[in-house]
Symmetry: C2
Amino acid sequence: MGKPIVYGPSYSVYTRAVLMALIEKKVAYDQVHIEMDNEEHHAPEHLKRHPFGMLPAFEHNGFMIYETVPILIYIDDAFPGTRLMPGDIHRRTRALQILSVINSYAYRPIIWGIFAPRIFPRPGRIVDEAAIAEAAKTGEHALRAIEELMMTPDPFLVGRQISPADLLLEPVVHYLEITAEGKAMLGRLPKIAAWHAAIQARPSVKETVPQ
Amino acid sequence: MGKPIVYGPSYSVYTRAVLMALIEKKVAYDQVHIEMDNEEHHAPEHLKRHPFGMLPAFEHNGFMIYETVPILIYIDDAFPGTRLMPGDIHRRTRALQILSVINSYAYRPIIWGIFAPRIFPRPGRIVDEAAIAEAAKTGEHALRAIEELMMTPDPFLVGRQISPADLLLEPVVHYLEITAEGKAMLGRLPKIAAWHAAIQARPSVKETVPQ
């Protein structure tokens, strides 16, 4: 069995979740950096891997996968080691719901609505404070829904083991926390704040955290 | 074990996928109609079931689930009968990818970009033909990606058994086909057109098809 290949940059939220999954499963992998700044993810070569030009794409023994949830579940099923997806049906359902909430409701406002304009404001453009405030409201609502789905008092989101939900939420909250809005928001979300602080010691987090 | 309850109207794409899954698994269920026309899905009572006001929500023995992919996978795992999710890792991955492509790239342009303005044009408003043409282009790109993910020559999307991917794609293509854009598009997508024609004989399709 060949080493899997991850196509994407480590600073991408979704790429980082996949890298963390491989580290958690102790799978040796290769990574091909795809640069977003020069639109490499929209170039024909990457569109062959991911027809919507998103990141990451994944390859294992010639089998190509795009979309992060299918990649995470494939990694869990294809490689030996700790199971990431809970065996218990209720915990597994909560993990899948949290992944869906991140994809459908949390990622866009938090990353593109708060993090991007705050940390990478466009030169010469006035920051749209009303849009950021609206994204903060939407993003907080989504994170509050995730708190409701958490299986507390377990240390991880849905149990005593790390799950794909933890792996995708970590890179989102990592970027959120850098912003003033995010710091304030996490002050109002004690369960996610405590979870996020505790997970920082995890090797898969430390080895992949963007500099 | 009590009967599960589906909260949603049969005309909703996502609700219909869940109803079809229950019929495929031969599970008796109750359905609580939630009306979108009078904003019942945004009323406090439904927001307790689904904090983002989407449809459907699902309840089984007091366990509440929202988001359709987690609901479909829960139904498959919780009830006996035919397995909907393929046992083979490659087919399972393709099913999860198709579900993700529908959610992230196909549903919005096809349902809200083509079907809704064509079939339910807003009274007194001019139909935005450029927006519909753009949605048709985006929607066709997504369906073409799904054709690439299909495991032909199998009769269903990813094999010889119906899968959650088939259950979610059917209601989307059903509405698309009603429109002139959809008819033309399906003429250029022979694999999906053949799959869609063949699946019409399925009892779960016939019993749930909107009138």
